[in-house]
Amino acid sequence: MSDVKYSKEHEWIKLEGDIATIGITKHATEMLGDIVFTELPEKGSNVDKDGTAGVVESTKAASDVYTPVSGEVVDTNQDIVDDPSKINQDPENTAWFFKLKIKDKSEMESLMSKDEYDKFAKESSS
């Protein structure tokens, strides 16, 4: 999909109007292994570009989830809190993390396209 962008912290972001849906990439889940715990930002809270906006934990370690853009959290995905293994199963679709009402669309400009991200992910893991 052409309207999906990617961050260097391995988040994907899909913009529809001024609502952005954010999750972590398949590549990220492969690096993390089995995800067994998820913490999401609170609905109504504000998050800042590149700030932490959640946590995922595998059996091995905890990792922060960052938000690639600023905005107000308007929705979170309770499904992945109840069953974190869903993130491993379908990371770039049904296992989204949170939705933001974004403040500044220009923040999207620094993010990567699918091709750019795939190349970045390949290089960063080799």
């Binding site: 292994g33 089995d34 067994v36 715990f37 913490e39 946590v55 934990e57 595998s58 059996t59 091995k60 370690a61 905890a62 293994s85 491993n88």
Partner: protein, 368 residues
Amino acid sequence: MEIKKTSLYKLHHDNKAKFVEFAGYLMPIQYSNGIVEEHKFTRNHAGLFDVSHMGQLFIYGDNDLTKDLEKIFPLDLKNLKLNHSKYSFLMNDEAGIYDDLIITKIEKGFLIILNAACKKNDFKILRELLNNKYKMVLDENRSLVAIQGPKAVQILNDIINEVKELSFMSGNWFKFQDQKIYITRSGYTGEDGFEISIPNELSEKFVKELIVKGARLIGLGARDTLRLEAGLCLYGHELDKDKTPIEANLKWAISKDRILKGNFIGSNIITKQLSNGVSKIRVGIKPDGKVIAREKTKIFNRSDLHIGEITSGTFGPSVNGPVAMGYVENKFSKKDTKVFLEVRGKKYPANICGLPFYKKSYVKGANK
């Protein structure tokens, strides 16, 4: 220093292992199925673990050796039967633990299985303590493989006949491809199982035969979640030079007879701690919710007093929730004491609990 590979490296690689460096060895942390699946497979079937990085120390000697080792280990070694094993520790004068180990009486001496990260230092300490009197071999020509889980006995017995006759914490020499392998019934997962000491050149063939019979390779990641659910200590986490066996709640491993008589390294401190009590002690900790409290997480009591720290914490796939072990002040160590764990700046409730977290149900069919 160059990183070492075990004799099973190629097999791990062919099975798409993800590797990590552990104690100077390149070891598989997991394979393509992932830690949770590997963990559950071990609990329900049979997991295969390459533990060749661990030290296999053979010490040869007669009654003098037994007497000299009793000055080091708090065990009744002169009454240890041939091919029987005991869990023990190598301690310093303050009863701090240099390593935890399994010692087995073999013909002409003892076999001691040591932790990978400690084995070289252990060898040095033991050689000095034994005044270089005995032949000691830290055998690098043998690999060590564990098979663990409810199907382990059946699978291994298909290849090594009679192995099912071994009782827990005992072993014997068997033959594979006309070469001697030493098998003990023991393990580190809370499951029934065996550990097999085998010449390096045979290890791959042996493991492949076990795989054909239905066992699967399991990485160090699942080994850690399995041992933690079983309430077993990991050196460098629950155990180190600043902790004694009494503080580690392992006094069961010290022979009663030896407690009375003393006369082993660290015995003064052990005796003192047994009569006066200890200030800190190892406990199991079960968080109320889903939050995982990892190593170094601070533990607080109801009055917000800092009373201890987590030494290992993860998600337990069989428990289906977080599990942890740690040290707390003795007066807060009673089962069901409410404690609070500080994770990412917030305090989460948990309970001090008994160990293990996961206990095997031996009822047939009850553990699907």
